[in-house]
Symmetry: D3
Subunit: 341 residues, 6 copies
């Protein structure tokens, strides 16, 4: 295909071996269900960098062959084969120019959405959530998509290091821009000591709904998610899912920029992503803040890779169930009823 940029860092690989496309060549991704986009940017990090290598790590980290197939044991679908999944490579994002970088990414995501595909953006630091969600909203309508946001941090800061743009601020910018409604903004997993009260006040005024870990522990994650799902689908046509890997406890995800102790487990994150993609009309996904220099034995990258696969598997299953009038049963044993697969 023409003009493929490839990878900003390292060899031009695709997510577990799926096919390539180029965002400069619309024919190359026509008819795609999913287009993966790399956002190798960490110029927005307020502390540990390294997320620029997130896309490479998330694409590569798996012990299975890079054959473009991944049949899910749990969901009995193959997210990479039952959907048409393509990888557009990276968007060029110079680390020292955040405005140019985010703008290029927004254009890329918008192209994907306009082609009717779901963009799955591999970060990169969380500043990319602004172009990711806005790019989709530019197509589906400002105010027409809700956000489910897994994170230890609200990312609703105003100004940091003298700048309006950074990985602590994308959610504020999204709401201010009108692309997303504050009252359809669901946050899961917040904890710790940031942001300060005045920022929380701003969030409350926008009617955001943030589930801090205390509420999650006391009510249960399942109940919180159910409540959030109802809000997310009220007066919105689609849901954007933004997963900051630091929503997990640092024991499960050490390779990240701003680890906050006391998070959810990897199992909880995977189950939540599955449920969201099974039950809700997901229109875009990003997985962010994987920082390979701080990872150990690739466990954080592997988790992020599985978050992507879980999302794709569940989207595939949701579509199959919609088509076949079936429903996934979590109690079905793995080897029972094999014709069901």
């Amino acid at each position: 295909m023409t003009n493929r940029y490839g990878a900003q860092f390292g060899p031009d690989i695709t997510f577990l071996g799926v096919g390539r496309c180029s965002l400069d060549d619309p024919a190359s991704y026509a008819g795609a269900d999913i287009v993966i986009v790399g956002a190798p940017f960490d110029g927005g990090t307020s502390h540990r960098p390294g997320a620029r290598f997130g896309p490479q790590a998330i694409r590569m980290t798996d012990y299975l062959p890079h054959d473009g197939a991944r049949p899910s044991l749990a969901l009995r679908t193959d997210g990479l084969r039952d959907l048409r999944v393509l990888d557009a490579g990276d968007v060029e994002m110079p680390p020292g120019d955040i405005l140019a970088s985010l703008s290029a990414l927004e254009a890329a995501v918008e192209k994907v959405a306009r082609a009717g595909a779901i963009p799955v953006v591999l970060g990169g630091d969380h500043s990319i959530a602004f172009p990711d969600a806005k790019g989709v909203a530019n197509v589906l309508g400002h105010g027409r998509i809700s956000m489910i946001h897994f994170d230890a941090h609200a990312d609703t800061g105003d100004i940091e290091f003298g700048s309006l743009w950074g990985h602590g601020q994308p959610m504020r910018r999204l709401i201010e821009s009108g692309a997303l409604r504050g009252d359809r903004f669901l946050q899961i997993g917040l904890r710790g000591y940031w942001p300060p009260p005045e920022t929380l006040d701003w969030m409350a005024e926008r009617s955001m709904r943030s589930y801090e870990m205390t509420e999650i522990v006391h009510r249960g994650l399942t109940e919180c998610l159910t409540e959030a799902f109802a809000i997310a689908t009220d007066e919105c046509d689609g849901v954007f899912l933004s997963v900051d890997i630091d929503v997990c406890d640092p024991g499960h995800a050490p390779g990240t920029g701003t680890p906050e102790p006391g998070g959810i487990t990897a199992r909880q994150l995977l189950d939540s992503v599955r449920r969201i993609c099974l039950e809700l009309p997901v229109v875009g996904v990003d997985v962010v803040e994987v920082s390979p220099p701080y990872d150990h034995a690739d466990i954080t990258a592997a988790l992020a890779n599985r978050v992507v696969l879980e999302a794709l598997s569940a989207i595939a299953r949701r579509r199959r169930d919609a088509r076949d009038g079936t429903a996934w049963n979590p109690l079905l044993p793995l080897l029972a009823d094999r014709p069901d697969r």
Copy 2:
């Protein structure tokens, strides 16, 4: 003693300082309850190697003195003293010759079983489960022992890298060989994207019972185990326990070859091993896939060391309870009723 091979790698140490024996000298292990065997082999790994150093790491990793004593706080037995535990050292297993290696290990395990002792094999990659379980079944009768298998992966592959033998295939080979019955094969902790459907079909046809993480999360591990125990003891005389350390989440066990996010916790694994060895007639154990080069601060090796100790402590307690007509009470406070110890 004569002819002790010792260690394939590094100094000739024993598990936490228990006594030595040599499998070439039957007198040296006559009357043993437990014989520990090292299987320093990673020639069967499909991805990250390193499990060849598992036996050394599992034997050594403990902050307490290597004095051959470990009184369990929870079970009030000393698995290393209340049983007669000996360490036979390693079996020589050249990494480039899997058939010769597995054959040598099968002969070694069979010797232990024939002497009336329980073999506890320290892996090594999971390809060793074939000789481990078959070696026991050769003595106790093909089809007479069931398998409880903790793992993220089913290990029932057919051919990999052009070979019938490797760490993804031992369970298939065991069932095909007739040594174990497919319908007495219990798997706990499977998850992820392997094996593919045709392999699952083969498993279903053999009536294997595999508890994928979804079922474990939705029903609870306790209930799943109880169900599995009933199957394991139906028409079988003994149970082989095979623990692949990757059943745990990579956060708890990063030092392994094929880490799959979303596993059980270290606490859950230890409690499960305890319960199995307290409630079932265990006739063999292996602990596999500990890969020290990928470990951090020895936490995976320490976990595997504790899996072995938990098994031995529970076997000792089971024997004492059988002898004394007593029963272990998990609700008894540590310092209550001290004469009970």
Copy 3:
């Protein structure tokens, strides 16, 4: 201020930027609510050293600015601003002279307590619990404070490496000294294979109450804590909280000297510390056994930093609730009822 010793290792920093004081200059800490003291000592470790760098790591490890402010999302207080918190720097503790070191620390803690402040001691290995708790008891009265002790180990050994002093013995020494009552000694999280039965007998004879992990798993941590709280406040005026970071599973806290698999999660530890400091009259705190050389990506140091912040936040909240006649509600959503903050 005069005569500030500063840091035994590295630059003279304070906990997240709070103000400095010098224990040799009483005016410098007059009126303080909390005085942080560094105990950079690992001469008492029986295995992996490194805890000497614990104070530095706990003070520094945070991705937020070192501005002496940390507003808690969960508790709606700022533990560093709503209380008057000062950092006295380190006590000089030569690693090769444990008696001199512990004696110097006891004097330091006693000064803090005598000034009416709560000492928060950053270890250092657990041998420092003796001077920490004794220093407080010297002021509040021997036998008048209870101990809540999170740990994988009982730390009630008698003699180790020929010495009465080390990180496995402080609790025995505290009880023998009369500073603390055995029957007001609550231990949470014990597990594994130490101490031996004769030591447990000694503990039982002193009527200590130790919650081994089995009891915690079977009864639930919440219920165990509630029971412990009742004991802790019976006939005692204050509670000393000693947190050995190895109470957590090594997956959550790898950077420690004697990691024992199967511990509680970071989330459980933080919630427990919060509850203790909200519900009980805490008069002293230490956080020990953080060993940076064995840490990865600073996750253990970050956890210890958050243990301190959780304690301070909860103490601040407890004081505010007492003053205002309010009560903390864990079910209140983060953004609800913002005037409450």
Copy 4:
């Protein structure tokens, strides 16, 4: 002092405990010989980031007390005491805005130079060499200072990732700006496969003098330096010394962004820096590309710390020798002639 910014990341520490000043408070650094400035910026890195933590690491990494004194065994001066050395803290440099960041740094360096002090800038990636050298040249005169540049890379690229600014381009920008003359630009240690021939042609046209490792190996580093010194002092009033730590072999300096095998040793770097600062009129120094996330056991940070100390010690000795009419003798045994110190 007023308005000190302090540290962009972590606690506000100074280089090994020297005194503080604030660049916003001229009185605070009046009369200083040396002002240390932190440039915590890695938004210009083309590959591995992390150099933002370079200033913190270089300031802290030493096993000796942070007491603001370092008597050199070799040079018999104390670079921190015999000179008046102050640390101005960091310049705020948002990683995503390279133009704003470099501009702020240029202003800071210019302030130092204007006050008559030598700026010693702790990077940060090498993009900071532009403001570092230009800031000095703005005061001493464009074209009046030469550059001695240790590096594996020429850093004379034109456009990278679509930008004129980054860590591969500062030397080109410096020459283009007129601040520095191409024919007084001396490069030591180049090697590998970058830049491409057209860039080398550009360099040749500007009459730069670059010593690739082949020439250094065949002629000897000593001879190359002597030749370079003659050029550097021809028609120039001062020398700027820019040390990219990757001039050393990765075995000596693994913690860097773009390691190129085959470099000089740490010993050679230290001896070269010593000689430059003893023999030449150094007017500014930077030490760049230390990336702590990729370091091991802090060896790269320690080397950079010693580069700074070596420079300061030699500057102090040069001044003393000029004052006393003495000369340093490298053959003098350490303990000989002690009155000389």
Copy 5:
């Protein structure tokens, strides 16, 4: 192209982005000068494994774009562009079947040699030297090529772990097979405590010439190489260059299986490889024993990548000089005489 196997582990990448070919499709590599072959095998390692990931690491580890171009500063050629370089991907080499693996590799190398190209094999452990050199000799004639072998170890063992095949034995097997003459076998860098005297006797009887580090230190590496070159070209038509990365000191190459302290520097290795490929008729190359799990910050992989580039650059220069009647001058400054490039 048809039937390309790709990569045994991870994505199908090529060496720094050069073109692909398939050994099963002769047209795909017709006319190539160089064919790169991956040998991802560590089933022959006697101690630390991990070399199976060597090919991936050597192909990927570079901070420059993967654009298939690398102009050498020193040699003024582009080894990837001035030659026709293709990458055939990996040979499938199951770790547990060394005989099948080596046999498959021999066939692959032979194909390359028969096509008139120079095979450059990326190991893998050193057992691959047998098929590497024999595959070439099968084409050019047994006894017609000499070997220059950089290594800490002689690799002339007879039987290890009961097997004739492993990474300590390939050189003996090569000589025994008749493919290579013992008296045209040059070894550089041996040291330490292996092999035992009886093996050295065998080597002496075959008239091998082995330069132990003592001789290299006392005579100088340059002189030793010159002497070796004369032997290598006497009665032989070509030279096979086998580089075990452990010839370097562990400080320069920690990521290897059997590190032996006291080796040459990275600079010395690169200069030696350059000289060999400039001065001798090299007909095959392998670079072995890079073990990524034991590497730090990829410095060993980067060194191996540069060994390959140095070889290709020098081969390209040798060919150009032969064609143009020119000669490389190591004393020429980098920027002098630019038309020469």
Copy 6:
């Protein structure tokens, strides 16, 4: 044998498999040439601890079998077989009681020396040099042995952390005690910024001879050693060799407590140790400051292991040459003249 203490940490192993002895059982080491003693102590470290695990790491770190044999390629002797080498295990050294620890070690070393064997002590931090050298001098006569001391640091401090004892002070204490003469004290490799001038004055007054790196670089290590050898053997009967691994550059020995950039290479250290043990009457050796927690891929431990082997090999060669009237020839090629071995 009776009463063997074994290992303070971990399993009771011996140096590469040599035989055991017990210092409490004189018969067990009667007739020994060499007795290895472990000094697992780091209570004297002023900064990074971890050297307590030095003895274990030095004994274990080798990729060859632990068979008690190591034929030296260079010296053509087997230091473990041609001498009678025994390993006495560790001396118990509680980290918090430096006086008791050093005293126990002195008694142990003295026993070895009194039996006519050469003690080789594996540290441990450098505080052990006091008992090591004094223990030997107690037998051979105070003032009758000289010291050759490889180190980055002079270790002649007076008081640190308020104590006379620590790893920065042993050499002062040795001279003050009268055990060693200051004018027979040769130090090689000093550098950096410690000790301060007043300590250097003390050293000069005692007529110590310290070769700082500047002198070594300018005169050459060979010449410095030759000069030192003449001093060492003047009026002394024996030489004690104390090797602090930090004499090497941190790139070659990162796993140490106080790494000082700019040291000698591993090759230089090994060659120096060889020459000392070949040319001088060595009566005791220690190897100290190996800190495994800070090591990478065991390269520092491997180097220390080779320092011991080099010493033993050279002692064996010296004895053989003395017996046979032969002399070692460093220019002899490895495979030449094989009957010479």
